[in-house]
């Protein structure tokens, strides 16, 4: 199993975005520029988000987990976007409701039905108000990276 690619340079803190499309494009472009996803990944994530929204209201700051099919991915990776001002995402599993998202975890997965522990731990973060708050407030990228990798247990 290939290692998840993630470090300080995968974090966009105080991300300024006009819309969810803008935020997704910025994060997907970052992964593309690192060679971890194909160029097609960017439009594929935008398209999927339109059809299958990934916004999730939590007890703390709302999150979104945009992702797409594995064929667009070269290497398993995660990009984190912490928005300066929230942007509206459609809520996963809801017809037309949206939620103001502050934290975006963009997933580039290269295998189906795998990475259970990583994904479970990621969902665990969504249920942990304290770490969501930490991701919003902390400005030191290395501390954010360390905390996230520990929470995801991919160290």
């Amino acid at each position: 199993m290939k290692h998840l690619q993630f470090d300080e340079s995968f974090i966009l803190k105080n991300l300024e975005a006009k819309s969810k499309e803008d935020a997704i494009t910025q994060l997907a472009t970052l992964l593309f520029e690192k060679g971890l996803v194909r160029e097609s990944y960017i439009d594929a994530v935008l398209d999927r988000e339109k059809r299958y929204a990934t916004g999730l209201p939590t007890k703390g700051h709302a999150v979104a987990i945009p992702h797409t099919d594995i064929i667009h991915v070269n290497h398993k990776a995660l990009a984190l976007g912490v928005l300066k001002e929230p942007v509206d995402f459609g809520i996963m599993g809801e017809d037309s409701k949206s939620t103001p998202v502050s934290i975006i975890f963009m997933l580039a997965m290269d295998e189906e039905h795998s990475q259970l522990t990583l994904l479970q731990n990621l969902m665990g973060i969504f249920q942990d108000e304290e770490i969501l708050h930490f991701l919003m407030e902390e400005e030191n990228m290395t501390i954010i990276k360390e905390k996230l990798l520990t929470a995801l247990a991919v160290h």
Partner: protein
């Protein structure tokens, strides 16, 4: 009790259905219910219409199906999870 076929669906069949699939596996084990879990992309659902007993989905379900549908978002956010678990167990225990 007949072993139920439970579809676990999300948009990509990659992320959220993997988590939900495992959670339902645990849930069934806890309640000593034998289930057949099938993880799918929602777009693949037409192949399972005849055989499925329940659909648990994290994504929007556009059509009417001959089996019940349960929204699985609670497995991801923890909000309202007990109720959703209870609904699933009830469906699994139905004759």
């Amino acid at each position: 009790m007949k072993k139920k076929n439970v579809l676990v669906a999300c948009g990509a069949g990659i992320a959220t259905s993997t988590v939900v699939n495992s959670a339902i596996e645990e849930l069934a084990k806890e309640h000593h219910i034998d289930v057949n879990l099938i993880q799918i992309k929602i777009a693949e659902i037409s192949s399972y219409i005849e055989t499925a007993d329940l659909l648990v989905s994290t994504t929007i379900v556009q059509k009417e199906y001959p089996f019940p549908v349960i929204n699985a978002q609670a497995f991801l956010t923890g909000i309202g999870l007990d109720k959703v678990k209870q609904d699933i167990v009830e469906e699994l225990k139905k004759e």
